[in-house]
Symmetry: D4
C-alpha cells in the first residue's frame, strides 16, 4: 500500500520538510503533495502567467484561481490530508482545505498547538484526529500501515 498525503497549512516555515524527513525515517510508503511553498510565487502566479492586472484584488483573484486549481488536482489524488495550524497568519485557506477534504470524504489529521483548542474546536471535532505535533501526526500515519 502506498498513500498520497496532502499537506495543508502555512507556507512560511519548513514544516513540510520535517514531515517528509520523519516519514523517511519511519520508512512510510507515502508521497506528499501540497500547495506552492514559494510564498512570493504563490502570490504572483496570476500576474506571472496572465500579465499585469488592474488592481490588487484582481491580481489576487488571478493568483487564487491558479492556486485553487492546483489544490483541487492534488487533493483529488490524495488519500489523506494532514493540516497544520499555528499562531501566525489568518490560515483561512487551511480551514477551507480541511473542510473541503472532510466534506468530500477524505480523512484529515489536524495538528495544532494545545492553546488553540478553543477557536479550532468545531474544526477539530470534524477532523478525524487532532494532535499537537508533527511527530504525533506521523505516528498516526504509521499506525495505518501497521
Amino acid at each position: 500500500m502506498k498513500l498520497t498525503i496532502y499537506l495543508a497549512g502555512e507556507i512560511h516555515s519548513n514544516w513540510r520538510g520535517k514531515v517528509k524527513a520523519l516519514a523517511e525515517e519511519k520508512d512510510l510508503s507515502c508521497t506528499f503533495v501540497g500547495p506552492q511553498e514559494n510564498h512570493g510565487r504563490s502570490d504572483e502566479i496570476g500576474e506571472m502567467i496572465l500579465g499585469s492586472q488592474p488592481n490588487s484584488i484582481v491580481k489576487d483573484e488571478a493568483a487564487s484561481r491558479i492556486n485553487n486549481l492546483r489544490t483541487q488536482v492534488l487533493m483529488e489524488q490524495s488519500n489523506l490530508v494532514i493540516a497544520l495550524f499555528g499562531d501566525e497568519y489568518k490560515q483561512w485557506n487551511t480551514a477551507m482545505d480541511v473542510s473541503a477534504a472532510l466534506t468530500a470524504g477524505k480523512p484529515v489529521i489536524l495538528i495544532r498547538p494545545e492553546h488553540l483548542h478553543h477557536p479550532l474546536k468545531e474544526l477539530s471535532n470534524k477532523a478525524n484526529v487532532t494532535v499537537e505535533t508533527i511527530e504525533q501526526a506521523l505516528s498516526v500515519v504509521h499506525y495505518i500501515f501497521e
Copy 2:
C-alpha cells in the same frame, strides 16, 4: 419560491439582525437559519447537557459536537449560505462552513471588508459571489427573486 439561507459568521455582533431587517424591507421570501448566537451558550452547551467535563479541551469537544450537529441539520435545509468575515476573531468556523457548503454544492455569498481581500483570496475565488456589505449581499439575493 421561498429560500432558506444559512448565515455563517461571528456571533458577537448583531449582523444577522441587520440581514433580516433588510430582507423584510426588500420583501424577500426568505427564512434565515444559523449558529447559536448566544456566545456563552454556544461555549457551554456541552457541559449544560452532559454535565461537567474533565478539562477545557474535553469541554470544547462536547460543545463542538452539539454545535456541529446543529449546523449540519440547518445547512442541509438551506438553499444558500451568506458568510460574513470581519477583522476580529479567528473565524475558522466561518471558513469551515463556507467550504463545507461549497463542496456540497450549496452556493455561497461572501461578505468581507475590502482590506481582507488578500488572506481571503482563495476562499473568495471559490465562493460564488464576494461583496463588501450586507446591503450588497441582499441585493444579490434580491436579484435571484427578480
Copy 3:
C-alpha cells in the same frame, strides 16, 4: 422548521413513547418514525405476507427484507437519527442503522449508558453527539430549534 427523526434501537421497552412525550413537553416541531415496534409482528411479517417458509432462516430472510424496506423508506425521509443502546439484546440492527445513516450523511445522536462506552467507542466517535439519557438527547434536539 419541522424535523423528522428516526428512532433506531430495541423495540422491547417503550423508550420511544418517552421520547415523544418529552418532545411534546418541550414543544418541539418533530415527527418521529422508526421500526415496527410490535416485536412479534416484526418477526412474523415475512410469513404473514408471504405465507409459511421452509425453515427459520428463510422465514427470517423474508421478514428482514420487509423490515429493511420499511427502514429505508422512513430513514430517507428523516433529517436526524436518535439511536438508543442498552444492556440487553445484540442490537446489531441499531449499529447497522446508525452506520447507514452516518455514511449517507444523516446526523446521529447516540444514547448509551456510561458503562457501555468501551464497546461503543468507535460508533460513538463516528456519531455526531453521544449522550446518556433520553432527556439529554432531546435537549440536543431542542438546541437545534433555538
Copy 4:
C-alpha cells in the same frame, strides 16, 4: 485482476490468518487489510500517541478516532469486505463497518454461525452474501476470479 479485501470482525482470534492461508492455497490474487489486530495496541493507541487522558471515556475517544481513521483509509482502498460474526463480544464495530461499506456501495460477504441467523437477519439481508465458514467465504471470492 487483483482485489483488496477488508477483513472486518473481532481481533481476538486468528481468523484473519486462516483467511490469508486459504487465499494463498487457492492462489487468489488478493491483498488483505483490516483493523489493528493487536488488541491492547488498539485500545491504547490514543494514549500512546497523545499521552495520558483524563478518564477512560476520553481515552477511548482518543483511540477510536485513530482506529476509525485507519479503517476509513483502508476501507476506501478495498473492493470487497469480508465480515465475521461470532458468539463472543459485542461486535458493534463489525456491524458498523459492514453497514458503512454497504451504504458506500462496497460488496460484503458475511460469515456467521448458523445459530446467529435471527439477531443478524437484517444485516444478513443487506449483505451481498451470507455464509457460515471462512472456507465458504473464500469459495465465493474464488468464484469472482473464475
Copy 5:
C-alpha cells in the same frame, strides 16, 4: 407521511387500477405515478409530437426518448417502486426501471408469479422485497405506514 409510488410494468392489463383500488381500501396515503398506460399513444408519441419519421426504428427512438423523459421525471419524485412481471411481453423496460431505481437508491417491491422465480432470480435478489400478488405488495406498503 405521504408516499409517491411508481408502478413499473406492462401497460396492457389494468393491474394499476387494482393497485389503486386496494390502496384506497386500505386507506394508504399514496400517490401513484407510472408510464403512459395507453399503449398506442406510448408507441406513437414520437410521431404525434415530431411528425412522421423515416422508418420504424427512428420512430421508436423518437417515442422512447419521450417515454424515458416521462419516466425520469416521475421516478425522481417517487419514494418507492412497485414492479410487476408476468408471463407475457419482453418486459425489458420493467427490468430497466427496477434496476435504475435500485441503483439510484430507491426501494423496489417486485411482484412476479412463482413460476418466474428462476429467470428473475438476480433481479429478485437485488429488489428489496419479492411477492407474488398485488395484495401482498400492498400489505408491504401498509406495513411501512403502521
Copy 6:
C-alpha cells in the same frame, strides 16, 4: 404533481412568454424560472451591486458571478429544463446550462430549428428529447402529466 421548469436560452426575444402562455392554455401545473431576462441588467448587475470595475473583463466577471449564482439556485429547484437554441448569438451559456443540468441528472428538452441539427448533434444526443418548436416542447411536458 407540480413541476418547476428552468427555461435556458437567449434573453433577447420573448420566447419565455410564449412558453408560459401555452402552459396556461394547456392548464399544466408548472412554475417557470430562468435567467435574468432584462439583458442590460444581466450585463450590468456586477457594477450595479459592486460599483465600477477597472475594465470590461473584470466587469463581466462581476456580473457573471451573480448570474451564475442565480442560475445555480434556480436550477437546483427545477425538475426539468427546456432549452432554446436559435440562429443568433453565441449561446454558449445555453450549452453550459444544458450540460450542467444533464450531468447533474436533470432531464432536458432541447428546442432548435431543424437546420441547426449538425452543430448541435452531440448536445441533442445527450438531451432527453429534441424538438423544433415551443409547441412541441410543451406537448412533451403535457405528456408527463397525462
Copy 7:
C-alpha cells in the same frame, strides 16, 4: 490507455469468445470481464458453496446472491459495458446490468438484432450506442482508441 469491458448477456453461446478474438485481431488494449459463463455452475453455485437448500426458490436466491456479488465487483472495475440481446431467453439480467451500469454513469454499447428494436426501444435510447453485430461493437471500441 487500457480499458476493462464488462460483457453482459446470455451465457449459452460463445459470443464472448468472438468479442475477445476480434479485440485481439484489432489489437485493442482491453481486458474483458463478465458473468460466470458455465451455465450449470451459475445456477448451482449457491448449493455448491452453501449446501442443499430447502426448495428451488431458496436455491435460486442463494445462487443469485453470489452471482450478483460477482457482477458488482467486476462491473465496478469496468470502464465500459457491451451488452448483447438475442432472440432466446428472458434476458432480464442483461437489462438489469445495462440499466445499473447506465444509472451509475458507465457507458454501454448495446448489440441487438434489428428486429428486436421495438421491445428494446427504451433501453436502446438510454444506452450510449446501439449496434447490430459484435463487429460493429468492436469498431466502436476501436474508435475510442484512435
Copy 8:
C-alpha cells in the same frame, strides 16, 4: 505524479499538436486525450459503422452517439480539461464538454482570445482558470507539478 488531460475544442486546426509539443518541451508528465480529430471521420463515424442512415439528422444522431461515448470514456479517465475557444465554429460541443467536466468536479482551464470575454463570461467564471494562449495554459499545468 502523472496527469491525463482532456483537450476539448475545435478539431480543424492543429492546436492539440502545439499543446503536446509544449508539454514535451516543459517535460510535463502528461497524457493527452481528446475527441476524434479527423473531422470527416467524426461526422461519418455513424454511417461508417452502422451503414447508411435515412436522412442527415439520423446520420448525425448515429455519429454523435459514438462521439459522445468516446468523450465519456476518455473524460472519465482525465484529471484535468483544457478547453479552447476561438472565433470560428459554433463550439457548442466545447461548452458542453467544459460544463459536463465542471459539474462532475473535474477542473478546467479555458483558453480564449481576449475579445471573446463577453459571450464566454459565465463559462469563464465557472471554469477554474481562464487564459488567452496555449502557452499560458501549459504554464498553469506546469505550476501544478512544481
